[in-house]
Symmetry: C2
Subunit: 302 residues, 2 copies
Protein backbone atom coordinates (compact mmCIF):
# COMPACT_ATOMS: atom_id res chain seq x y z
CA UNK A 1 0.00 0.00 0.00
CA UNK A 2 2.74 2.34 -1.06
CA UNK A 3 0.53 4.63 -3.08
CA UNK A 4 -0.19 7.99 -1.55
CA UNK A 5 -3.85 8.88 -2.01
CA UNK A 6 -5.36 12.31 -2.59
CA UNK A 7 -9.02 13.30 -2.52
CA UNK A 8 -10.73 16.10 -4.38
CA UNK A 9 -14.24 16.66 -3.10
CA UNK A 10 -14.82 15.46 0.43
CA UNK A 11 -18.56 15.71 0.77
CA UNK A 12 -20.32 12.79 2.39
CA UNK A 13 -19.22 10.31 -0.29
CA UNK A 14 -15.63 11.43 -0.74
CA UNK A 15 -14.93 11.81 3.00
CA UNK A 16 -16.22 8.32 3.72
CA UNK A 17 -14.19 6.76 0.92
CA UNK A 18 -11.11 8.48 2.34
CA UNK A 19 -11.90 7.18 5.85
CA UNK A 20 -12.30 3.67 4.49
CA UNK A 21 -8.99 3.74 2.63
CA UNK A 22 -7.19 5.04 5.71
CA UNK A 23 -8.79 2.26 7.80
CA UNK A 24 -7.34 -0.42 5.53
CA UNK A 25 -3.86 1.07 5.65
CA UNK A 26 -3.51 3.60 2.87
CA UNK A 27 -1.91 6.98 3.51
CA UNK A 28 -4.15 9.87 2.62
CA UNK A 29 -1.72 12.67 1.88
CA UNK A 30 -3.86 15.43 0.38
CA UNK A 31 -7.42 16.67 0.59
CA UNK A 32 -9.07 19.43 -1.44
CA UNK A 33 -12.61 20.77 -1.42
CA UNK A 34 -14.32 23.79 -2.94
CA UNK A 35 -15.29 24.58 0.67
CA UNK A 36 -11.91 24.94 2.42
CA UNK A 37 -13.45 24.27 5.84
CA UNK A 38 -14.59 20.80 4.71
CA UNK A 39 -11.12 20.04 3.43
CA UNK A 40 -9.55 21.24 6.70
CA UNK A 41 -11.85 19.09 8.80
CA UNK A 42 -11.33 15.87 6.85
CA UNK A 43 -7.58 16.50 6.46
CA UNK A 44 -7.27 16.98 10.20
CA UNK A 45 -9.18 13.79 10.90
CA UNK A 46 -7.08 11.72 8.49
CA UNK A 47 -3.67 13.29 9.02
CA UNK A 48 -3.54 14.69 5.50
CA UNK A 49 -2.70 18.12 4.19
CA UNK A 50 -5.67 20.38 3.41
CA UNK A 51 -4.58 21.78 0.08
CA UNK A 52 -5.43 25.32 -0.98
CA UNK A 53 -4.58 24.53 -4.58
CA UNK A 54 -5.44 21.56 -6.77
CA UNK A 55 -1.87 21.40 -8.08
CA UNK A 56 -0.72 20.72 -4.54
CA UNK A 57 -2.88 17.57 -4.42
CA UNK A 58 -1.16 16.33 -7.56
CA UNK A 59 2.21 17.11 -6.01
CA UNK A 60 1.45 15.11 -2.85
CA UNK A 61 -0.40 12.04 -4.20
CA UNK A 62 0.06 9.17 -6.66
CA UNK A 63 -3.59 8.25 -7.01
CA UNK A 64 -6.15 11.04 -6.82
CA UNK A 65 -9.81 10.23 -6.32
CA UNK A 66 -12.21 12.95 -7.41
CA UNK A 67 -15.84 13.15 -6.27
CA UNK A 68 -17.20 16.46 -7.49
CA UNK A 69 -20.74 17.64 -8.18
CA UNK A 70 -21.19 17.87 -11.94
CA UNK A 71 -19.73 18.23 -15.42
CA UNK A 72 -18.80 21.86 -14.87
CA UNK A 73 -16.87 21.05 -11.69
CA UNK A 74 -15.12 18.13 -13.40
CA UNK A 75 -13.99 20.25 -16.35
CA UNK A 76 -12.84 22.98 -13.97
CA UNK A 77 -10.59 20.80 -11.78
CA UNK A 78 -8.92 19.34 -14.87
CA UNK A 79 -8.99 22.32 -17.20
CA UNK A 80 -8.83 25.55 -15.22
CA UNK A 81 -6.01 27.78 -16.46
CA UNK A 82 -5.09 29.24 -13.05
CA UNK A 83 -5.08 26.04 -11.01
CA UNK A 84 -5.63 22.49 -12.13
CA UNK A 85 -4.93 18.90 -11.15
CA UNK A 86 -2.99 18.54 -14.39
CA UNK A 87 -0.09 20.82 -13.46
CA UNK A 88 3.04 18.62 -13.35
CA UNK A 89 0.77 15.56 -13.34
CA UNK A 90 3.04 13.10 -15.17
CA UNK A 91 2.49 9.54 -13.94
CA UNK A 92 -0.49 10.39 -11.77
CA UNK A 93 -3.72 8.39 -11.94
CA UNK A 94 -7.03 10.15 -11.47
CA UNK A 95 -10.07 8.07 -10.52
CA UNK A 96 -13.20 10.08 -11.20
CA UNK A 97 -16.22 8.99 -9.20
CA UNK A 98 -18.74 11.76 -9.84
CA UNK A 99 -21.79 11.03 -11.95
CA UNK A 100 -21.15 13.15 -14.99
CA UNK A 101 -21.91 12.79 -18.67
CA UNK A 102 -20.01 10.21 -20.75
CA UNK A 103 -18.56 13.01 -22.88
CA UNK A 104 -16.96 14.70 -19.87
CA UNK A 105 -15.15 11.46 -19.06
CA UNK A 106 -13.76 11.15 -22.57
CA UNK A 107 -12.78 14.84 -22.57
CA UNK A 108 -11.04 14.47 -19.20
CA UNK A 109 -9.23 11.36 -20.38
CA UNK A 110 -7.85 13.30 -23.34
CA UNK A 111 -6.67 16.14 -21.10
CA UNK A 112 -4.98 13.67 -18.74
CA UNK A 113 -3.20 11.82 -21.54
CA UNK A 114 -1.90 15.12 -22.90
CA UNK A 115 -0.47 15.85 -19.45
CA UNK A 116 1.18 12.43 -19.22
CA UNK A 117 -1.33 11.32 -16.60
CA UNK A 118 -4.03 8.66 -16.67
CA UNK A 119 -7.68 8.73 -15.79
CA UNK A 120 -10.29 6.15 -14.95
CA UNK A 121 -14.00 6.34 -14.34
CA UNK A 122 -15.08 4.87 -11.05
CA UNK A 123 -18.82 5.31 -11.24
CA UNK A 124 -20.61 4.49 -8.01
CA UNK A 125 -24.04 2.98 -7.73
CA UNK A 126 -24.34 3.05 -3.96
CA UNK A 127 -24.60 5.52 -1.16
CA UNK A 128 -22.90 6.98 1.89
CA UNK A 129 -22.98 3.93 4.17
CA UNK A 130 -21.44 1.77 1.46
CA UNK A 131 -18.67 4.31 0.96
CA UNK A 132 -17.78 4.14 4.65
CA UNK A 133 -17.87 0.35 4.74
CA UNK A 134 -15.98 -0.13 1.50
CA UNK A 135 -18.88 -1.91 -0.15
CA UNK A 136 -19.52 0.42 -3.07
CA UNK A 137 -20.83 -0.94 -6.34
CA UNK A 138 -18.08 0.38 -8.58
CA UNK A 139 -18.27 0.49 -12.36
CA UNK A 140 -14.88 1.23 -13.86
CA UNK A 141 -14.07 2.38 -17.38
CA UNK A 142 -11.06 3.67 -19.28
CA UNK A 143 -7.84 2.00 -20.40
CA UNK A 144 -7.72 -1.50 -18.98
CA UNK A 145 -4.04 -1.02 -18.04
CA UNK A 146 -5.01 1.96 -15.88
CA UNK A 147 -7.77 -0.08 -14.28
CA UNK A 148 -5.28 -2.82 -13.39
CA UNK A 149 -2.89 -0.24 -11.96
CA UNK A 150 -5.39 1.12 -9.39
CA UNK A 151 -7.29 -2.14 -8.90
CA UNK A 152 -5.77 -2.78 -5.44
CA UNK A 153 -7.06 0.57 -4.16
CA UNK A 154 -10.52 0.20 -5.70
CA UNK A 155 -10.77 -3.36 -4.43
CA UNK A 156 -10.77 -2.00 -0.88
CA UNK A 157 -13.75 0.21 -1.71
CA UNK A 158 -15.87 -2.49 -3.32
CA UNK A 159 -16.20 -5.40 -0.89
CA UNK A 160 -12.80 -6.85 -1.81
CA UNK A 161 -13.60 -6.33 -5.48
CA UNK A 162 -16.77 -8.41 -5.43
CA UNK A 163 -18.77 -5.31 -6.34
CA UNK A 164 -16.29 -3.92 -8.87
CA UNK A 165 -16.79 -4.26 -12.63
CA UNK A 166 -14.64 -3.23 -15.57
CA UNK A 167 -17.07 -1.98 -18.20
CA UNK A 168 -15.01 -0.76 -21.14
CA UNK A 169 -13.42 2.40 -22.54
CA UNK A 170 -13.79 5.92 -21.17
CA UNK A 171 -17.38 7.11 -20.90
CA UNK A 172 -18.85 3.59 -20.80
CA UNK A 173 -19.31 3.51 -17.03
CA UNK A 174 -21.06 6.87 -17.15
CA UNK A 175 -23.36 5.45 -19.80
CA UNK A 176 -24.20 2.46 -17.61
CA UNK A 177 -24.67 4.67 -14.55
CA UNK A 178 -27.01 6.92 -16.53
CA UNK A 179 -28.99 3.83 -17.54
CA UNK A 180 -29.12 2.51 -13.97
CA UNK A 181 -30.42 5.81 -12.67
CA UNK A 182 -32.79 6.28 -15.58
CA UNK A 183 -34.44 2.93 -14.84
CA UNK A 184 -34.32 3.51 -11.07
CA UNK A 185 -35.99 6.90 -11.49
CA UNK A 186 -38.70 5.42 -13.72
CA UNK A 187 -39.41 2.72 -11.13
CA UNK A 188 -39.49 5.35 -8.38
CA UNK A 189 -41.85 7.67 -10.23
CA UNK A 190 -44.04 4.68 -11.12
CA UNK A 191 -44.16 3.47 -7.54
CA UNK A 192 -45.19 6.96 -6.41
CA UNK A 193 -48.10 6.75 -8.84
CA UNK A 194 -49.19 3.33 -7.59
CA UNK A 195 -49.06 4.35 -3.94
CA UNK A 196 -50.62 7.76 -4.64
CA UNK A 197 -53.55 6.14 -6.40
CA UNK A 198 -53.82 3.53 -3.64
CA UNK A 199 -54.01 6.33 -1.08
CA UNK A 200 -56.68 8.14 -3.10
CA UNK A 201 -58.70 4.90 -3.12
CA UNK A 202 -58.40 4.58 0.64
CA UNK A 203 -56.47 1.31 0.45
CA UNK A 204 -54.30 0.14 3.33
CA UNK A 205 -50.91 1.16 1.94
CA UNK A 206 -48.96 -1.21 4.15
CA UNK A 207 -50.98 -4.07 2.71
CA UNK A 208 -50.62 -2.64 -0.80
CA UNK A 209 -46.83 -2.54 -0.46
CA UNK A 210 -46.80 -6.08 0.89
CA UNK A 211 -48.78 -7.17 -2.19
CA UNK A 212 -46.49 -5.22 -4.52
CA UNK A 213 -43.54 -7.02 -2.91
CA UNK A 214 -45.07 -10.43 -3.68
CA UNK A 215 -45.92 -9.70 -7.29
CA UNK A 216 -44.67 -8.34 -10.59
CA UNK A 217 -44.78 -4.85 -9.07
CA UNK A 218 -41.80 -5.59 -6.82
CA UNK A 219 -38.64 -3.54 -7.18
CA UNK A 220 -35.60 -2.39 -5.27
CA UNK A 221 -37.12 1.09 -4.90
CA UNK A 222 -40.20 -0.44 -3.27
CA UNK A 223 -37.86 -1.54 -0.47
CA UNK A 224 -35.81 1.66 -0.31
CA UNK A 225 -38.48 4.31 -1.00
CA UNK A 226 -41.96 2.84 -0.48
CA UNK A 227 -42.32 3.50 3.23
CA UNK A 228 -40.73 6.93 2.89
CA UNK A 229 -43.34 7.84 0.29
CA UNK A 230 -46.16 6.72 2.54
CA UNK A 231 -44.69 8.45 5.61
CA UNK A 232 -43.67 11.52 3.61
CA UNK A 233 -40.14 11.16 4.96
CA UNK A 234 -37.90 12.59 2.27
CA UNK A 235 -34.59 13.07 4.09
CA UNK A 236 -32.09 13.02 1.32
CA UNK A 237 -29.93 10.08 0.24
CA UNK A 238 -30.18 10.80 -3.48
CA UNK A 239 -31.85 14.07 -4.30
CA UNK A 240 -34.71 14.75 -6.68
CA UNK A 241 -32.49 17.34 -8.38
CA UNK A 242 -29.86 14.64 -8.98
CA UNK A 243 -32.56 12.33 -10.30
CA UNK A 244 -33.60 15.02 -12.78
CA UNK A 245 -29.96 15.55 -13.77
CA UNK A 246 -29.26 11.83 -14.31
CA UNK A 247 -32.46 11.18 -16.27
CA UNK A 248 -31.48 14.20 -18.33
CA UNK A 249 -28.03 12.71 -19.06
CA UNK A 250 -29.66 9.46 -20.19
CA UNK A 251 -32.11 11.30 -22.43
CA UNK A 252 -29.22 13.30 -23.90
CA UNK A 253 -27.49 10.04 -24.78
CA UNK A 254 -30.75 8.60 -26.17
CA UNK A 255 -31.11 11.64 -28.39
CA UNK A 256 -27.73 10.99 -30.01
CA UNK A 257 -29.06 7.52 -30.86
CA UNK A 258 -32.42 8.90 -32.03
CA UNK A 259 -34.26 6.71 -29.53
CA UNK A 260 -37.71 7.68 -28.31
CA UNK A 261 -38.08 6.88 -24.58
CA UNK A 262 -41.49 8.05 -23.35
CA UNK A 263 -41.19 6.64 -19.81
CA UNK A 264 -37.78 8.22 -19.23
CA UNK A 265 -39.11 11.47 -20.66
CA UNK A 266 -42.17 11.49 -18.38
CA UNK A 267 -39.92 10.73 -15.39
CA UNK A 268 -37.50 13.52 -16.30
CA UNK A 269 -40.44 15.94 -16.54
CA UNK A 270 -41.73 14.90 -13.12
CA UNK A 271 -38.35 15.35 -11.38
CA UNK A 272 -37.77 18.62 -13.21
CA UNK A 273 -41.20 19.83 -12.11
CA UNK A 274 -40.44 18.91 -8.51
CA UNK A 275 -37.08 20.71 -8.70
CA UNK A 276 -38.71 23.82 -10.20
CA UNK A 277 -41.18 23.80 -7.30
CA UNK A 278 -38.15 24.29 -5.06
CA UNK A 279 -38.22 20.68 -3.83
CA UNK A 280 -35.11 19.41 -5.61
CA UNK A 281 -33.40 18.95 -2.24
CA UNK A 282 -35.85 16.25 -1.21
CA UNK A 283 -34.85 12.63 -1.62
CA UNK A 284 -35.90 11.02 -4.90
CA UNK A 285 -38.81 9.47 -2.96
CA UNK A 286 -40.16 13.05 -2.76
CA UNK A 287 -41.63 12.48 -6.22
CA UNK A 288 -44.63 11.22 -4.24
CA UNK A 289 -45.36 14.89 -3.51
CA UNK A 290 -46.67 15.01 -7.08
CA UNK A 291 -48.91 11.93 -6.90
CA UNK A 292 -50.50 11.95 -3.45
CA UNK A 293 -53.56 14.15 -3.08
CA UNK A 294 -53.14 17.07 -0.73
CA UNK A 295 -49.35 17.07 -0.90
CA UNK A 296 -47.15 19.76 -2.44
CA UNK A 297 -48.06 19.05 -6.07
CA UNK A 298 -51.69 18.33 -5.16
CA UNK A 299 -51.55 15.45 -7.66
CA UNK A 300 -54.52 17.03 -9.36
CA UNK A 301 -55.05 17.20 -13.08
CA UNK A 302 -54.94 20.75 -14.31
CA UNK B 1 -64.33 -31.29 0.97
CA UNK B 2 -68.02 -31.79 0.47
CA UNK B 3 -68.47 -28.82 -1.82
CA UNK B 4 -69.00 -29.60 -5.45
CA UNK B 5 -66.96 -27.24 -7.60
CA UNK B 6 -67.85 -25.80 -11.00
CA UNK B 7 -65.62 -23.92 -13.41
CA UNK B 8 -66.59 -21.32 -15.98
CA UNK B 9 -63.72 -20.53 -18.30
CA UNK B 10 -61.15 -23.30 -18.59
CA UNK B 11 -58.36 -21.60 -20.47
CA UNK B 12 -54.87 -22.19 -19.17
CA UNK B 13 -55.57 -20.59 -15.79
CA UNK B 14 -58.99 -22.04 -15.11
CA UNK B 15 -58.09 -25.56 -16.26
CA UNK B 16 -55.02 -25.65 -14.03
CA UNK B 17 -56.93 -24.40 -11.01
CA UNK B 18 -59.48 -27.15 -11.61
CA UNK B 19 -56.71 -29.77 -11.89
CA UNK B 20 -55.19 -28.55 -8.64
CA UNK B 21 -58.50 -28.71 -6.75
CA UNK B 22 -59.15 -32.20 -8.04
CA UNK B 23 -55.65 -33.25 -6.96
CA UNK B 24 -56.31 -32.20 -3.37
CA UNK B 25 -59.60 -34.07 -3.23
CA UNK B 26 -62.38 -31.79 -4.42
CA UNK B 27 -65.01 -33.04 -6.84
CA UNK B 28 -65.23 -30.97 -9.98
CA UNK B 29 -68.78 -31.50 -11.15
CA UNK B 30 -69.27 -29.00 -13.96
CA UNK B 31 -67.17 -27.25 -16.58
CA UNK B 32 -68.25 -24.56 -19.02
CA UNK B 33 -66.30 -22.67 -21.65
CA UNK B 34 -67.25 -20.35 -24.50
CA UNK B 35 -65.36 -22.88 -26.67
CA UNK B 36 -67.29 -26.12 -26.09
CA UNK B 37 -64.33 -28.26 -27.19
CA UNK B 38 -62.20 -26.83 -24.36
CA UNK B 39 -64.94 -27.60 -21.86
CA UNK B 40 -65.29 -31.15 -23.22
CA UNK B 41 -61.57 -31.82 -22.98
CA UNK B 42 -61.15 -30.58 -19.41
CA UNK B 43 -64.42 -32.18 -18.27
CA UNK B 44 -63.29 -35.49 -19.67
CA UNK B 45 -59.92 -35.22 -17.93
CA UNK B 46 -61.46 -34.35 -14.57
CA UNK B 47 -64.56 -36.55 -14.65
CA UNK B 48 -66.91 -33.55 -14.73
CA UNK B 49 -69.86 -32.74 -16.95
CA UNK B 50 -69.17 -30.43 -19.86
CA UNK B 51 -72.13 -28.10 -19.62
CA UNK B 52 -73.75 -26.63 -22.70
CA UNK B 53 -75.54 -24.03 -20.57
CA UNK B 54 -74.35 -21.83 -17.74
CA UNK B 55 -77.46 -22.61 -15.70
CA UNK B 56 -76.44 -26.26 -15.72
CA UNK B 57 -73.16 -25.34 -13.94
CA UNK B 58 -75.16 -23.64 -11.21
CA UNK B 59 -77.38 -26.71 -10.96
CA UNK B 60 -74.42 -29.06 -10.50
CA UNK B 61 -72.10 -27.07 -8.23
CA UNK B 62 -72.00 -25.33 -4.84
CA UNK B 63 -68.99 -23.16 -5.47
CA UNK B 64 -68.44 -21.85 -8.98
CA UNK B 65 -65.10 -20.40 -9.97
CA UNK B 66 -65.19 -18.10 -12.98
CA UNK B 67 -62.11 -17.16 -15.01
CA UNK B 68 -63.33 -15.28 -18.06
CA UNK B 69 -61.64 -12.77 -20.34
CA UNK B 70 -63.04 -9.33 -19.60
CA UNK B 71 -65.82 -7.11 -18.24
CA UNK B 72 -68.12 -7.94 -21.14
CA UNK B 73 -67.77 -11.68 -20.59
CA UNK B 74 -68.30 -11.26 -16.83
CA UNK B 75 -71.51 -9.27 -17.30
CA UNK B 76 -72.72 -11.79 -19.87
CA UNK B 77 -72.31 -14.91 -17.71
CA UNK B 78 -74.14 -13.23 -14.83
CA UNK B 79 -76.62 -11.08 -16.73
CA UNK B 80 -77.53 -12.72 -20.02
CA UNK B 81 -81.29 -13.05 -20.38
CA UNK B 82 -81.23 -16.36 -22.27
CA UNK B 83 -78.73 -18.25 -20.15
CA UNK B 84 -76.98 -17.15 -16.99
CA UNK B 85 -75.26 -18.49 -13.91
CA UNK B 86 -77.90 -16.78 -11.82
CA UNK B 87 -80.82 -19.01 -12.85
CA UNK B 88 -81.94 -20.82 -9.68
CA UNK B 89 -78.72 -19.77 -8.00
CA UNK B 90 -79.91 -19.51 -4.41
CA UNK B 91 -77.16 -20.39 -1.95
CA UNK B 92 -74.44 -20.65 -4.56
CA UNK B 93 -71.09 -18.89 -4.14
CA UNK B 94 -69.33 -17.47 -7.18
CA UNK B 95 -65.62 -16.76 -6.96
CA UNK B 96 -64.63 -14.47 -9.79
CA UNK B 97 -60.96 -14.63 -10.71
CA UNK B 98 -60.80 -12.65 -13.96
CA UNK B 99 -59.09 -9.29 -13.97
CA UNK B 100 -61.97 -6.94 -14.62
CA UNK B 101 -62.82 -3.43 -13.53
CA UNK B 102 -63.78 -2.77 -9.90
CA UNK B 103 -67.22 -1.61 -11.04
CA UNK B 104 -67.96 -4.93 -12.72
CA UNK B 105 -67.29 -6.71 -9.42
CA UNK B 106 -69.69 -4.47 -7.52
CA UNK B 107 -72.30 -4.84 -10.29
CA UNK B 108 -71.94 -8.62 -10.25
CA UNK B 109 -72.18 -8.70 -6.45
CA UNK B 110 -75.51 -6.83 -6.67
CA UNK B 111 -76.85 -9.24 -9.28
CA UNK B 112 -75.81 -12.23 -7.17
CA UNK B 113 -77.41 -10.86 -4.00
CA UNK B 114 -80.62 -10.25 -5.89
CA UNK B 115 -80.58 -13.91 -6.95
CA UNK B 116 -79.97 -15.10 -3.40
CA UNK B 117 -76.40 -16.06 -4.27
CA UNK B 118 -73.08 -14.69 -3.08
CA UNK B 119 -69.99 -13.51 -4.94
CA UNK B 120 -66.38 -12.97 -4.08
CA UNK B 121 -63.48 -11.52 -5.98
CA UNK B 122 -60.49 -13.83 -6.17
CA UNK B 123 -58.03 -11.67 -8.04
CA UNK B 124 -54.90 -13.51 -9.07
CA UNK B 125 -51.45 -12.01 -9.30
CA UNK B 126 -49.63 -15.06 -10.62
CA UNK B 127 -49.47 -17.21 -13.69
CA UNK B 128 -50.18 -20.63 -15.13
CA UNK B 129 -47.57 -22.65 -13.23
CA UNK B 130 -48.76 -21.25 -9.92
CA UNK B 131 -52.34 -22.17 -10.79
CA UNK B 132 -51.30 -25.77 -11.40
CA UNK B 133 -49.26 -25.97 -8.20
CA UNK B 134 -51.83 -24.24 -6.02
CA UNK B 135 -49.48 -21.37 -5.20
CA UNK B 136 -51.46 -18.47 -6.61
CA UNK B 137 -51.19 -15.06 -5.01
CA UNK B 138 -54.89 -14.53 -4.32
CA UNK B 139 -56.45 -11.20 -3.36
CA UNK B 140 -59.99 -11.67 -2.12
CA UNK B 141 -62.69 -9.07 -1.72
CA UNK B 142 -66.40 -8.98 -1.00
CA UNK B 143 -68.41 -9.78 2.13
CA UNK B 144 -66.09 -11.20 4.76
CA UNK B 145 -68.64 -13.91 5.61
CA UNK B 146 -68.53 -15.11 2.01
CA UNK B 147 -64.75 -15.10 2.12
CA UNK B 148 -64.80 -17.28 5.24
CA UNK B 149 -67.27 -19.65 3.60
CA UNK B 150 -65.00 -20.46 0.63
CA UNK B 151 -61.70 -20.02 2.46
CA UNK B 152 -61.01 -23.80 2.61
CA UNK B 153 -61.24 -24.07 -1.18
CA UNK B 154 -59.15 -20.97 -1.85
CA UNK B 155 -56.57 -22.06 0.71
CA UNK B 156 -55.74 -25.01 -1.52
CA UNK B 157 -55.04 -22.66 -4.41
CA UNK B 158 -52.76 -20.28 -2.50
CA UNK B 159 -49.97 -22.29 -0.87
CA UNK B 160 -52.14 -23.35 2.08
CA UNK B 161 -53.40 -19.79 2.38
CA UNK B 162 -49.96 -18.25 2.84
CA UNK B 163 -50.48 -16.31 -0.40
CA UNK B 164 -54.12 -15.39 0.21
CA UNK B 165 -55.20 -11.93 1.41
CA UNK B 166 -58.60 -10.53 2.31
CA UNK B 167 -58.58 -6.96 1.01
CA UNK B 168 -62.01 -5.49 1.72
CA UNK B 169 -65.40 -5.00 0.10
CA UNK B 170 -66.34 -5.84 -3.49
CA UNK B 171 -64.19 -4.13 -6.08
CA UNK B 172 -61.23 -3.59 -3.73
CA UNK B 173 -59.24 -6.56 -4.98
CA UNK B 174 -59.72 -5.40 -8.56
CA UNK B 175 -58.43 -1.99 -7.52
CA UNK B 176 -55.33 -3.55 -5.96
CA UNK B 177 -54.81 -5.80 -8.97
CA UNK B 178 -55.09 -2.81 -11.29
CA UNK B 179 -52.46 -1.03 -9.19
CA UNK B 180 -50.15 -4.07 -9.19
CA UNK B 181 -50.36 -4.37 -12.95
CA UNK B 182 -50.08 -0.63 -13.49
CA UNK B 183 -46.80 -0.55 -11.55
CA UNK B 184 -45.58 -3.80 -13.13
CA UNK B 185 -46.28 -2.43 -16.61
CA UNK B 186 -44.45 0.81 -15.83
CA UNK B 187 -41.43 -1.13 -14.61
CA UNK B 188 -41.57 -3.33 -17.71
CA UNK B 189 -41.82 -0.43 -20.15
CA UNK B 190 -39.03 1.34 -18.25
CA UNK B 191 -36.78 -1.71 -18.35
CA UNK B 192 -37.35 -1.98 -22.11
CA UNK B 193 -36.12 1.60 -22.45
CA UNK B 194 -33.01 0.96 -20.37
CA UNK B 195 -32.08 -2.19 -22.27
CA UNK B 196 -33.00 -0.65 -25.63
CA UNK B 197 -30.73 2.32 -24.98
CA UNK B 198 -28.01 -0.01 -23.69
CA UNK B 199 -28.22 -1.98 -26.93
CA UNK B 200 -28.05 1.20 -29.01
CA UNK B 201 -24.87 2.13 -27.10
CA UNK B 202 -23.33 -1.25 -27.83
CA UNK B 203 -23.14 -2.22 -24.18
CA UNK B 204 -22.91 -5.85 -23.12
CA UNK B 205 -26.55 -6.38 -22.11
CA UNK B 206 -25.79 -9.38 -19.92
CA UNK B 207 -23.44 -7.22 -17.90
CA UNK B 208 -25.94 -4.36 -17.92
CA UNK B 209 -28.66 -6.61 -16.48
CA UNK B 210 -26.26 -7.90 -13.85
CA UNK B 211 -25.52 -4.30 -12.85
CA UNK B 212 -29.24 -3.42 -12.84
CA UNK B 213 -29.80 -6.38 -10.52
CA UNK B 214 -27.22 -5.09 -8.04
CA UNK B 215 -28.51 -1.53 -7.94
CA UNK B 216 -31.56 0.69 -7.57
CA UNK B 217 -32.64 -0.41 -11.06
CA UNK B 218 -33.49 -3.90 -9.83
CA UNK B 219 -37.05 -5.16 -10.13
CA UNK B 220 -39.09 -8.32 -10.39
CA UNK B 221 -39.61 -7.70 -14.11
CA UNK B 222 -35.85 -7.55 -14.61
CA UNK B 223 -35.81 -11.20 -13.52
CA UNK B 224 -38.93 -12.27 -15.43
CA UNK B 225 -38.62 -10.19 -18.61
CA UNK B 226 -35.05 -8.88 -19.00
CA UNK B 227 -33.56 -11.83 -20.82
CA UNK B 228 -36.66 -12.23 -22.98
CA UNK B 229 -36.32 -8.61 -24.08
CA UNK B 230 -32.68 -9.13 -25.01
CA UNK B 231 -33.37 -12.44 -26.78
CA UNK B 232 -36.56 -11.13 -28.38
CA UNK B 233 -38.41 -14.13 -26.97
CA UNK B 234 -41.95 -12.93 -26.41
CA UNK B 235 -43.88 -16.18 -25.97
CA UNK B 236 -46.89 -15.13 -24.03
CA UNK B 237 -47.40 -15.45 -20.27
CA UNK B 238 -49.18 -12.12 -19.86
CA UNK B 239 -50.01 -10.42 -23.12
CA UNK B 240 -49.25 -6.88 -24.20
CA UNK B 241 -52.97 -6.48 -24.95
CA UNK B 242 -53.75 -7.46 -21.35
CA UNK B 243 -51.14 -5.01 -20.13
CA UNK B 244 -52.83 -2.25 -22.13
CA UNK B 245 -56.21 -3.29 -20.72
CA UNK B 246 -55.03 -3.33 -17.11
CA UNK B 247 -53.15 -0.03 -17.31
CA UNK B 248 -56.34 1.35 -18.86
CA UNK B 249 -58.42 0.11 -15.91
CA UNK B 250 -56.02 1.80 -13.47
CA UNK B 251 -56.12 5.05 -15.42
CA UNK B 252 -59.92 4.90 -15.45
CA UNK B 253 -59.89 4.60 -11.67
CA UNK B 254 -57.32 7.43 -11.41
CA UNK B 255 -59.59 9.63 -13.50
CA UNK B 256 -62.44 9.23 -11.02
CA UNK B 257 -59.99 10.50 -8.36
CA UNK B 258 -58.74 13.31 -10.63
CA UNK B 259 -55.17 12.02 -10.28
CA UNK B 260 -52.59 12.82 -12.95
CA UNK B 261 -50.31 9.81 -13.54
CA UNK B 262 -47.88 10.57 -16.36
CA UNK B 263 -45.86 7.35 -16.09
CA UNK B 264 -48.96 5.15 -16.17
CA UNK B 265 -50.26 7.19 -19.09
CA UNK B 266 -47.03 6.83 -21.08
CA UNK B 267 -47.04 3.08 -20.38
CA UNK B 268 -50.66 2.73 -21.46
CA UNK B 269 -49.85 4.55 -24.71
CA UNK B 270 -46.89 2.25 -25.39
CA UNK B 271 -48.89 -0.94 -24.85
CA UNK B 272 -51.81 0.43 -26.86
CA UNK B 273 -49.43 1.33 -29.68
CA UNK B 274 -47.97 -2.18 -29.65
CA UNK B 275 -51.47 -3.68 -29.70
CA UNK B 276 -52.53 -1.44 -32.60
CA UNK B 277 -49.46 -2.62 -34.50
CA UNK B 278 -51.00 -6.09 -34.30
CA UNK B 279 -48.52 -7.25 -31.63
CA UNK B 280 -50.92 -7.41 -28.68
CA UNK B 281 -50.51 -11.18 -28.56
CA UNK B 282 -46.85 -10.90 -27.61
CA UNK B 283 -45.90 -11.22 -23.97
CA UNK B 284 -45.68 -7.94 -22.07
CA UNK B 285 -41.89 -8.13 -22.57
CA UNK B 286 -42.68 -7.46 -26.25
CA UNK B 287 -42.77 -3.77 -25.36
CA UNK B 288 -39.04 -3.96 -26.16
CA UNK B 289 -40.10 -4.05 -29.82
CA UNK B 290 -40.72 -0.31 -29.41
CA UNK B 291 -37.40 0.56 -27.79
CA UNK B 292 -34.75 -1.55 -29.52
CA UNK B 293 -33.46 -0.19 -32.80
CA UNK B 294 -34.32 -2.28 -35.82
CA UNK B 295 -37.17 -4.12 -34.16
CA UNK B 296 -40.85 -3.83 -35.07
CA UNK B 297 -41.35 -0.29 -33.76
CA UNK B 298 -37.91 0.76 -34.98
CA UNK B 299 -37.59 2.71 -31.70
CA UNK B 300 -36.94 5.76 -33.81
CA UNK B 301 -38.28 9.21 -33.11
CA UNK B 302 -40.74 10.30 -35.77
Amino acid sequence: MAEKIGFVGVGRMGANMARRLKDVGYTITAVYDARPESAAEVANELGAEACAKLARVTELADVIITVVTDDKAMLKIFGDKKDSLLKAAKGRVFVNCATVSPKTHTDVEKLCKKAGAASLEGCMASSINQARQGTLYLMCAGDEAVFNQVKPVLTKLSDEGKLMRYIGGAGKAAQVKALVNMVMNINTAGLAEGLGLGAALGLDLKMLMEIFSQTGANSRVLVTDGEDMVNRDHSCFFSAAHAAKDSGIALGVAKTKKLNLPLATATYKQYTKLTKMGLGGLDKSGIAELTFKGRAGKGLKK
